[in-house]
């Protein structure tokens, strides 16, 4: 895998030259140790997106970094989808045949991939059993779990756990997402890239052009939720909240998602959403194709309020994106959202459709308060949830793994 070129200096206007210099100093002291990232897909999905941005920066810092992607057939990925659902607590029967296939595909990949590096980072459960192929005494292996495994189906977790404990360390996105393990566990928050198409600055002209293309008139405040059409994102609840707001305040609603085309459940949810909208011309339901980053960027930037009314959520990177764009956010207090939305400071946390309506109305009526939340949110994301923070944390972890048991590490 060879992601496109990006240089750390490109981020200096955002995080400042001092922060860039500090990252370079941290990297220089790793003295060229080789890094290998392994996941299950090169494009699509949050992990591929993250690696596509992170790896060029690691290379720019002089750290030899490779990216390997495991291969597996459709049956294998059906097994890993079942495992993924089980980790989220969905009852799943993982048969002996499914387990065998999971391990066989890992063994095949171990035979064909070059897994030799000083630090090997395995992302998510799909390539987890590769650790069986580690050469004795060579390199350190870290399992980076992007999934919330706090309430898994126990049988499936026990099966995976046998592999997790063979790693030198594990990394989770938040303490709440982890499990008790006998190996050290670290926390690295997910991150967004401010220079990516989905987050880069846009001119007003560009934003207006996208709105025109999508058939949205900018003649009244836009309230937006960006999420795939999934019941756990509660799009029908967002419509209910919007209808409550419309009793007293003028606005329009955009529900922008994707993935319905190849997801039977997504199709059903999209139908439910259309029924709930009941032909309201001010509710725009956009089933966007993959890679609609420019459209999503423009929609978020054009919004007076961004909503994320999830019933369950992972870290919630759509919230991070909205905060980065200085949008006032109204979001459910679930998953990783409270780590980003500090109530009354960087956004507003809610627990119901009524609460969502109340807070949207407040923000539409008080633009100064909305602006203050947006500014705060932007600054908060700048320090904690950008690719550059992610990079710094990976460098710190690489150093920490070289000094096991030490809590204060002095670098020369």
């Amino acid at each position: 895998m060879t992601p496109p070129g990006l240089a750390l200096d490109d981020y200096a206007p955002i995080i400042g030259p001092a922060a860039v210099a500090e990252i370079r100093e941290l990297a220089r002291r790793l003295e060229g140790g080789q890094l290998l990232m392994v996941n299950s897909t090169a494009v699509g999905g949050g992990v591929a997106e993250l690696l596509n941005r992170l790896i060029p920066l690691l290379k720019d810092l002089g750290i030899p970094t490779r990216w390997e992607v495991i291969r597996g057939g459709q049956e294998f990925f059906e097994v890993t989808k079942a495992i993924h659902n089980a980790l989220h607590g969905t009852p799943v029967a993982l048969t002996p045949a499914m387990r065998s296939l999971f391990l066989e595909v890992a063994a095949e990949n171990a035979g064909s991939l070059d897994l030799d590096a000083d630090l090997v980072v395995i992302h998510d459960p799909q390539p987890l059993p590769l650790v069986a192929a580690r050469a004795p005494g060579r390199g350190q292996w870290v399992w980076r779990c992007h999934v919330d495994v706090s309430h898994p189906q126990s049988e499936v977790w026990d099966f995976l756990r046998e592999h997790v404990v063979r790693y030198d360390a594990s990394v989770f996105s938040a303490p709440e997402f982890s499990q008790v393990l006998p190996v050290p566990q670290y926390m690295i928050h997910p991150a967004i890239d401010p220079l990516a198409e989905k987050n880069r600055d846009m001119t007003t002209t560009e934003i207006e052009a996208v709105l025109t293309d999508l058939g949205i008139r900018d003649d009244r405040p836009i309230v937006t939720q960006v999420s795939r059409f999934d019941r756990l994102k509660d799009p029908v609840g967002v419509i209910r909240a919007y209808q409550l707001v419309r009793r007293t305040v003028e606005c329009q609603l955009v529900l922008a998602g994707g993935g319905a085309a190849d997801d039977p459940e997504g199709v059903a949810v999209l139908q439910e959403v259309r029924r709930a909208a009941d032909g309201d011309p001010l509710i725009h339901i956009l089933d966007l194709p993959p890679f609609s980053d420019r459209e999503i960027n423009a929609l978020q930037r054009a919004s007076a309020v961004v909503v994320q009314k999830s019933i369950r959520e992972g870290f919630g990177l759509t919230v991070t994106e909205a905060l980065w764009k200085k949008r006032p956010v109204v979001a459910s207090a679930v998953g990783g959202i409270p780590l980003q939305v500090l109530h009354n400071l960087t956004g507003l946390l809610v627990h119901s459709a009524e609460g969502t309506a109340y807070r949207i109305r407040t923000l539409l009526r008080d633009p100064a308060f909305a602006r203050r939340l947006g500014e705060n949110g932007h600054e908060y994301v700048k320090t904690r949830f950008l690719t550059t923070s992610n990079l710094r944390r990976w460098l710190a972890l690489a150093h920490a793994l070289r000094h096991p048991g030490e809590r204060i590490i002095r670098l020369p």
Partner: protein, 217 residues
Amino acid sequence: MELKAREPFVFYSTAHIIELTGRSARSLPELRSGIAEVTGSSIFHHTFGALQDRFFAAQRFTSDFARWAVEVLQDWAVAERLALMHPTEFPSIRALRERILQVIDDRLCEGQPPAPAPPGREFHFSQAISLIYPAGYAAATLVELRDGIRRASDRTLFFHLIEARLRIGRCTTDLSCWLSDELGAPHLADRLDRLDFFVPSTEDLRQQVLASLEDAP
């Protein structure tokens, strides 16, 4: 004539990685047990770690213990007492830990403890692994020191003014030590030691430090 130090003051920067301990607390007594047993690194991280970026220090408590006590246990009294701890008050993390335990013990002796946290709102203990490395510049005179303070990052200021004192066990701040021992300016060291670090932003802190280093006789 400008004073010149025998040894230059080397500016350092830090990076942190957070390690999860796997330990959590659902109630004030469980929080107390955890505080008594976790590492000093964990105590420091939860008490003063947030001073590194100073977000919203005026609007919310910077101590994780205090914030959890008010946001989850809804016990304002213990939260306020936990919040009012200043890095300069404590010669060591041991002393800091003892003070925190005393505050919780006093609260538990006062009567009924607050209701436990609902599921999913537990306090998760973690600890910061600190990497400390030269930032690439140094000062041999007061003028150079001021220049260094002006260019220092949030992390550099946090390290020299807060972390070095408690985690590395320096006498006061390591800046004060240098002013006193190497530059022969104990009055400036004394002034620096009396600063209040609970200011709204890093820029405010920087200006305070620079002001304390002015008007040298």
